[in-house]
């Protein structure tokens, strides 16, 4: 059980928006990583793709996910696809943002990395989504950087990202 959260770094996207946000030089001194984000897109697309160490966002990834839209539930799996965070798109209620948490245990290990993700986007309307995903990044390199890139266009102003390190002792 994690008992200690340390804020490693954070960022709030400025007035121009951003095409990507990267956390580089991630310290290798923690047990686990947690990224908490609150994100909105400037387009109708609502996926924010994650990649590590500057590698392709689709190589060596596999995932299982389940989600709900308020009117239907669905689930699926994928391989060599992107591992993505749901973000509020431009059609959702103005000034609303998604909430998400990515948990990455043992990010410095020489084994494949397992991840979990839970998130929801907010909307003052019937349509909204929640989303749970378990994923594997089949790469033995320690995670030293993390990049979040929208499928299209920009991350909107006031989107926030907080990267925490966790020590289990």
């Amino acid at each position: 059980m994690a008992n200690t959260y340390y804020l490693i770094a954070s960022n709030t996207v400025g007035s121009g928006g951003a095409s990507s946000v990267t956390f580089s030089s991630i310290p290798q001194t923690y047990t686990d990583l947690v990224l908490k984000s609150s994100v909105r897109s400037t387009s109708t697309d609502n996926w924010l793709n994650i990649s590590f160490n500057g590698t392709s966002a689709t190589v060596n990834w596999s995932a299982r996910w389940i989600g709900g839209t308020g009117t239907a539930a669905n689930s699926s799996s994928s391989t060599n696809s992107t591992y993505s965070v749901l973000e509020n798109d431009s059609t959702t209620t103005a000034s609303t943002f998604s909430n998400s948490e990515i948990y990455i245990p043992n990010y410095t290990s020489a084994n494949a990395k397992s991840l979990s993700l839970d998130n929801v986007f907010e909307n003052n309307a019937t349509a909204a989504q929640s989303f749970l995903m378990a994923s594997l990044w089949n790469n033995t390199a320690a995670i030293t950087s993390m990049t979040l890139t929208p499928s299209s266009v920009n991350i909107a102003q006031y989107s926030t990202f907080y990267l925490y390190g966790i020590k289990n002792s």
């Binding site: 490693i8 770094a9 954070s10 960022n11 996207v13 400025g14 121009g16 928006g17 951003a18 095409s19 990507s20 946000v21 990267t22 956390f23 580089s24 030089s25 991630i26 310290p27 400037t42 387009s43 697309d45 996926w47 499928s151 299209s152 266009v153 920009n154 990202f161 990267l163």
Partner: protein, 76 residues
């Protein structure tokens, strides 16, 4: 919004965030990804519409055979 897309990098060793404009290659790759995402979304919408049309057609044909709405719903 600025004309040139901006990439943000936060150096965790210093906490300093830097912003830089994307290179031409990065912009081209980004535009290609956006076009692909749009094409994927359109393909899904087209597939959903085709499936809905096929279902409606099947329901109409079954109704002409004398099935009630409940009976059609039971088998579709």
């Amino acid at each position: 919004m600025t004309d040139t897309p901006i990439a943000i990098e936060v150096d965790c060793s210093t906490g300093i965030a830097t912003e830089r404009p994307l290179t031409a290659d990065e912009i081209a790759a980004r535009d290609a990804a956006a076009a692909q995402a749009e094409a994927d979304a359109k393909a899904k919408a087209d597939a959903d519409a085709a499936a809905a049309a096929a279902k409606a057609s099947a329901e109409a044909k079954l109704a002409k055979l004398g099935l009630t709405a409940d009976e059609v719903a039971a088998i579709l």
